[in-house]
């Protein structure tokens, strides 16, 4: 296979975010404007420098409204990646491709969301007509009449088959959650700042979907926004922060994939998307798992965190529970993960806040800094990137 030529040619040069809350009190469009201008200021750039935008589906912000609000006047590249939050890292991948090819010079990646005060992300999706929105057409058409109407319930079939196949129990998921909440407790930006939990707390939290997802296994429903600014590695060298290179990226295309589930794939005891993503990330760019110093792995629900660890190959099938119990997610472990608290602990900006944390880790400015971190893998399940310190 020919090695892609774009790896390492684009860099994250700015990050910005709003506060993470349960009631922002302003529109997604305003939240996006705030995080984007903060990210541009962080990069030492202005809206006039921006010629590209990349987002992903289930975006309440129309690109045209964003352009006329922030005052972009030269956007000639834009992309919108499928899969909802699973596509969040596809934005960085697309931005890096655009920059490496010369199609764009400065690309802004963003997400603004009111997942608590607006349309609740954990709420039931019952609609009278097909929609390309939140739940995807497959889930609405073939799950809704049977009461399978929430993201937790769409993903639960995979989680239960995984538990059945490998003897995984709720407490095994809980050990990951306890670590994320410990990270979140030390992160002032997180919703669960100074609110760690014990495994007993996790086990006492009520069922959302039994026997796999308790309340504390679920990510937050968050109001807020994050944005990242990307530019060429050459231009990044002249900007204020150490560049964070996009070393590798990919999209996991799966036959029969849905937005938030894979109900029709033969084997649901493994995260099929992670197998394909790992082939891209570790097969094409000369990077190995041993190169990864920190993981930011999409924890919409804790079971899919364990399943991605296995699918990406950081441990064997069915071994994530032992990998976690051995303390490997901690700062001194084999693969510190979700050091901002993850989507479960910091908040759920539809996955994109995993990329801002990866950027802080590689700048050396994370609150829970992994000493000497050179490479971070960010997995949104269906899309992913490896970022590297320049």
């Amino acid at each position: 296979m020919t090695r892609p030529t774009w790896g390492g040619k684009a860099a994250i040069v700015g990050i910005g975010q709003t506060e993470f809350s349960k009631h922002a009190g302003r529109t997604e469009l305003q939240l996006a404007c705030e995080s984007i201008t903060a990210a541009l200021a962080d990069a030492g750039l202005s809206p006039a420098d921006v010629d590209g935008l990349a987002s992903y589906t289930v975006d309440p912000v129309e690109e045209t409204e964003l352009v006329r609000s922030v005052g972009f006047d030269a956007v000639n590249f834009s992309a919108r990646i499928p899969y909802g939050g699973g596509g969040s890292m596809g934005t960085i991948y697309a931005a890096a491709l655009a920059i490496a090819s010369g199609a764009a010079e400065v690309v802004v990646v963003y997400r603004a969301i009111r997942a608590r005060s607006g349309s609740r992300f954990g709420g039931a999706k019952v609609a009278p007509t097909p929609t390309s929105g939140h739940s995807g057409t497959t889930a609405l058409q073939w799950c809704m009449p049977f009461g399978v109407v929430t993201p937790a319930s769409w993903m639960a079939f995979n989680a239960v088959r995984y538990m059945h196949t490998y003897g995984v129990e709720s407490a095994d998921f809980g050990r990951a959650v306890v670590q994320f909440r410990e990270y979140a407790a030390g992160n002032p930006a997180s919703y669960f700042h100074e609110r760690p939990i014990t495994l007993d707390d996790h086990q006492a939290s009520r069922w959302i979907v039994e026997p796999c997802i308790r309340l504390f296994d679920c990510c937050q429903e968050t109001d807020g926004s994050v944005a990242l600014v990307l530019a060429s590695a050459a231009r990044a060298a002249d900007l204020p922060h150490p560049p964070v290179l996009v070393e590798a990226g990919g999209v996991a295309s799966l036959f029969e994939a849905e937005i938030a589930s894979d109900h029709y794939l033969p084997d649901l005891a493994v995260m099929n998307a992670s197998l394909v993503l790992a082939e891209h990330l570790f097969g094409e760019f000369g990077l190995t798992r041993d190169d990864i110093d920190v993981g930011l792995i999409y924890d919409a629900f804790s079971p899919i965190f364990l399943m991605q660890l296995e699918g990406l190959g950081f441990c064997g099938r069915g071994e994530a529970k032992d990998f976690i119990a051995a303390g490997n997610l901690a700062l001194d472990g084999r693969l510190p993960c979700n050091t901002n608290g993850g989507l479960i602990g910091e908040g759920y900006i539809h996955g994109l806040n995993l990329a801002t944390e990866a950027t802080r880790q590689l700048r050396g400015t994370a609150i829970h800094q992994v000493a000497g971190a050179q490479h971070a893998l960010v997995s949104a399940s269906r899309t992913g990137v490896i970022l590297g310190r320049a």
């Binding site: 954990g122 007509t129 009461g147 399978v148 069922w207 039994e210 029709y264």
Partner: protein, 142 residues
């Protein structure tokens, strides 16, 4: 009991073949008119051979629980909670999202429901729709 009828399935030109048969309590799948492979959910083209020729075949209604879940929250007016949802691998090789009825979710130990043999039955939904659900094989009416 639930406060409102189960939501009717969303009908499209591509999926109507399944739900129209369901109204007559017939469980069907598309079969490619060229290569003969079954597929579900329905779609206009055979993903294996690109044929647009479609036959419709009736299925046995017998299968095995591949996975399941017991959905507690958030409650909606349309269902009795908790909802016992199943993924059923039908003997013909088609997988369906459905419900298991007449089983008390509280009686299920761990993941022990995986592998159970089940047989199709039917429940009413809104607007005269009928939905395929499943009972444990050997229980009443199966």
């Amino acid at each position: 009991m639930a406060d409102a009828a189960r939501p009717a399935p969303i009908l499209t030109d591509d999926n109507a073949v399944f739900w129209e048969a369901a109204r007559e309590h017939r469980l069907v799948a598309q079969q490619c008119g060229s290569c003969g492979r079954l597929r579900h959910p329905p779609r206009p083209m055979c993903p294996h051979c690109r044929s647009l020729a479609i036959d419709v075949v009736e299925l046995s209604g017998r299968g095995t629980v591949y996975s399941f879940s017991i959905i507690h929250y958030p409650p909606t007016p349309f269902f009795d909670y908790p909802v016992l949802a199943v993924l059923v691998d039908l003997d013909e090789g088609i997988r369906l999202v459905s419900n298991l009825v007449d089983v008390d979710p509280a009686s299920i130990d761990g993941t022990s429901l995986v592998g159970a043999r089940v047989t199709v039955d039917w429940v009413a939904a809104d607007s005269g729709a009928e939905l395929p659900v499943f009972r444990l094989t050997g229980s009443d009416a199966s």
